[in-house]
Symmetry: C2
Subunit: 358 residues, 2 copies
C-alpha cells in the first residue's frame, strides 16, 4: 500500500458556502466546502490522498459502481462541546467496519491509521461547519466506489475513497420521542451468506418497498426478520434493536446478516458496566409478542449513529399492535441516551476513552 502525503487544495474564501444557522437542518442535503478523495489502482495501491473543494465526480458511464454495486460506506458524526472542542465518537470502529465491509465486497483494504489522520485533517479544516445547537452535529460519510470502466462481472481494478461532510439537525426535533415501527413479514433485508453484515449500498435500496408499505400505515420504520424463517428479529432500517423484557435487556446476536452497530456495541458495554443483565441471543417475534401479552415487554429501542437511541412506542406485526411503555420513553432508554450523548458532547466524563478530539 503506498500513500503519499496529504495535499490540501483550499477553496478561496469568497466562494465559501453559507453555513446553516438554525437547528432545523434536514439530514444529508447540505455539504461543506471541502471533501477528501484518494484513489486506488493495482500498481500504486491507495494513493494520492487529497482534500479538495467539494465538487462533482466525473465517471465513465461504464464505471462499475453504476452496474454491479461494488461499494461500501460508513457514517459517523463530529460533535461540538460546550467549550468549543470538536469530538468524534469511536471513529476507529467505523474505519475497522469499513474494511470489514470492503472485504465482503472484494474491495482492497485501507490503512486505518493513515485514513484516521486524513479524516481528522478534513474535519479540522471544516470545523466551523460543526453546528452547536442541541442535537446537531456534522455527519461524516466515508465511502468507496468502484471506478473501472468495464462491464465484466468481476471486482474493479480501480476505486475512489471519498469523505464528504454534512451538517445535520437533531434526528427528532425536541429531544427523543417514541416511534411506530412495522414488523416486515414479506420482504427480506438480508440472509446468512449475503451482505447484511456489510455497510453496502444494495442493502439499503432493497428496503424501499418495505419502507413504503410501513409508512402507508403510519409507521416510521421497518423491523426486519431473518430471511430464512421470517421469525427471528434482526434490526431496524438503520438501527440495531434492543428490548427490555422482565428486567433483562436482550438484543439479537450478530449472526452474519445483522450490521454490527457501533452504538450497539457501546450500549452493551455501558449496560455491563451498570450491571444491567443483558444478553445477545436469537429472539423470535413470537417470543416478543408473548412477552408483550404477559405485560413483560418493558421497553424497546433502536440504536444507531443517527438518533443514538430511538425508543419504540408501537410495534405492528400482522395486525397485532403492541404499545410499549404507554408510548413513552422508558427510564432505561432515557438514561442510555443521556449517557451516550453526554459523552459525545463532552458533558459526561468519557471513562471509556471513546471520544477523539479533532
Amino acid at each position: 500500500m503506498s500513500y503519499e502525503s496529504l495535499v490540501i487544495e483550499e477553496r478561496s474564501t469568497n466562494k465559501k458556502k453559507q453555513k446553516p444557522e438554525t437547528k432545523e437542518i434536514p439530514f444529508g442535503r447540505k455539504f461543506t466546502d471541502h471533501m477528501f478523495t484518494m484513489d486506488y489502482d493495482e500498481v500504486k495501491g491507495w494513493h494520492d490522498p487529497k482534500i479538495v473543494p467539494y465538487q462533482p465526480i466525473n465517471l465513465d458511464p461504464a464505471a462499475m459502481i453504476f452496474h454491479y454495486g461494488q461499494t461500501v460506506f460508513e457514517g459517523l458524526k463530529a460533535y461540538r462541546t460546550d467549550d468549543e472542542r470538536v469530538l468524534l465518537f469511536r471513529p476507529d470502529r467505523n474505519l475497522a467496519r469499513l474494511n470489514k465491509s470492503s472485504e465482503r465486497l472484494s474491495i482492497p483494504a485501507l490503512d486505518e491509521d493513515k485514513v484516521m489522520d486524513y479524516l481528522l485533517e478534513l474535519v479540522r479544516l471544516e470545523r466551523d461547519w460543526v453546528p452547536s445547537f442541541e442535537g446537531t452535529s456534522l455527519y461524516i460519510r466515508p465511502f468507496i466506489i468502484s471506478t473501472e470502466p468495464n462491464l465484466a462481472v468481476a471486482p474493479s481494478k480501480s476505486y475512489t475513497f471519498m469523505v464528504i461532510l454534512s451538517p445535520v439537525g437533531p434526528y427528532f426535533s425536541g429531544g427523543i420521542h417514541p416511534v411506530q415501527i412495522n414488523v416486515e413479514d414479506q420482504f427480506t433485508r438480508a440472509v446468512k451468506g449475503g451482505t447484511g453484515m456489510a455497510k453496502t449500498a444494495g442493502n439499503y435500496s432493497s428496503g424501499y418497498q418495505a419502507q413504503a408499505k410501513a409508512s402507508e400505515t403510519g409507521n416510521a420504520d421497518v423491523l426486519w426478520l431473518d430471511g430464512v424463517e421470517k421469525k427471528y428479529i434482526e434490526e431496524v432500517g438503520s438501527m440495531n434493536i434492543f428490548f427490555k423484557i422482565d428486567g433483562e435487556v436482550v438484543t439479537p446476536a450478530l449472526n452474519g446478516s445483522i450490521l454490527k452497530g457501533i452504538t450497539r456495541t457501546s450500549i452493551l458495554e455501558v449496560l455491563n458496566d451498570w450491571n444491567v443483565p443483558v444478553t445477545e441471543r436469537k429472539i423470535s417475534i413470537d417470543e416478543l409478542a408473548e412477552a408483550y401479552d404477559a405485560g413483560k415487554l418493558e421497553e424497546a429501542f433502536g440504536t444507531g449513529t443517527a438518533a443514538v437511541i430511538s425508543p419504540v412506542g408501537e410495534l405492528n406485526w400482522k395486525g397485532k399492535k403492541m404499545e410499549i411503555n404507554n408510548r413513552e420513553i422508558g427510564p432505561l432508554s432515557q438514561e442510555l441516551y443521556d449517557t451516550i450523548t453526554g459523552i459525545q458532547r463532552g458533558r459526561r466524563e468519557d471513562t471509556y476513552g471513546w471520544t477523539v478530539e479533532v
Copy 2:
C-alpha cells in the same frame, strides 16, 4: 409521463473512435461513439431524451447511486446477419424486465414503446459498430441510476436512464465449450423477499467472494442454491440453468429469487415446440447428485444473453465432482444453441417473431 422528442448530438467525424477489427474483443471494455440519456424529476417525469457523444457522467458525491444502490440495468445484443441487416433479440422483453426491476427498487417506470424507439435510433446511428465475425455482437447496456444528492435512506427524486453500446467478441472463442462450475454452499446470492428477481447492481458484487472461491479451484462460475435451505438449485452467476435428466428437461421454477432470463423463456418455448418434455420446478442439489450417480444426468447448460447456451462439463459440490456427458457438448445443448443463434443471426427462419430489425 412527459417525453419530448429525441435530440441527437452527433460527434464530429474526425473524433470517431477506432472500431475493433478482430473477433478477439474483450467483453465490455470498448464503447461506441454515442450514448443515450434521459432524465427524470418529479415535476417533468422522464424527459429530455438525447443521443449525445459518449462522455463521462458528472454527479454530486452525495448522489444516491453512490450510497444506497438504487439502480437497475439490462443487457441485450444487436447481431449482424450475413446479408448486413442488424437484428435485436426480443428487446421488448428486456424493457419489460427493466420496468419490473425498477418496480422492486422503487424507481419510476419508463414508457416501453418510446424507449424502444430511442434504443432503435441509437443502434441505427451506431450500426457500423455491430461487428460481423462469428459470435460477435454489439452489447447494449440500458441502466438507470438515482442522482439526487441526498444521504437520507429513501427513494431518489431524480434519475438518469442511459444506454451505452459495446462491441463484444464471442463468449467462448472457437464456439461453445463446456465449463466447470462450483456449487456454492456458504454464500447466498438471493432469497425470497429480496431483490433476486430484479437486475440490480447489488446482486452482482455480492457474488464476488463466491466467484473468487470458485475460481481458486479452477471453476469458471458459481451455481447458487436457495438462500433459505441451501438445497434447491437457483441459477449461475449471469445465467439460468437447465438439466436433462433421464430424457426430461428441468429448470428451477421462478420463485422470486431467480432472474427471469429471456434466453430461459425462449428455450422453454423452443423445447415445447419440439415436444421435448420440460418442467419448471424445484430441483434440489441432492436430487441432481442422485440422478448423476444413477447415470441419468445427461446434459446441463446455462442460458443467458452472454453465451446463449453454456454447456456445463463439470459440477463441483462439497468435494463431489460430477462430470457431465464426458465434458462434451450434449446434442440438445448444441441444437438449442444452433437454433437460438441461428434466429439471432438471421440464418434460421424466425417463426416466433422474436427478432426486431434495426
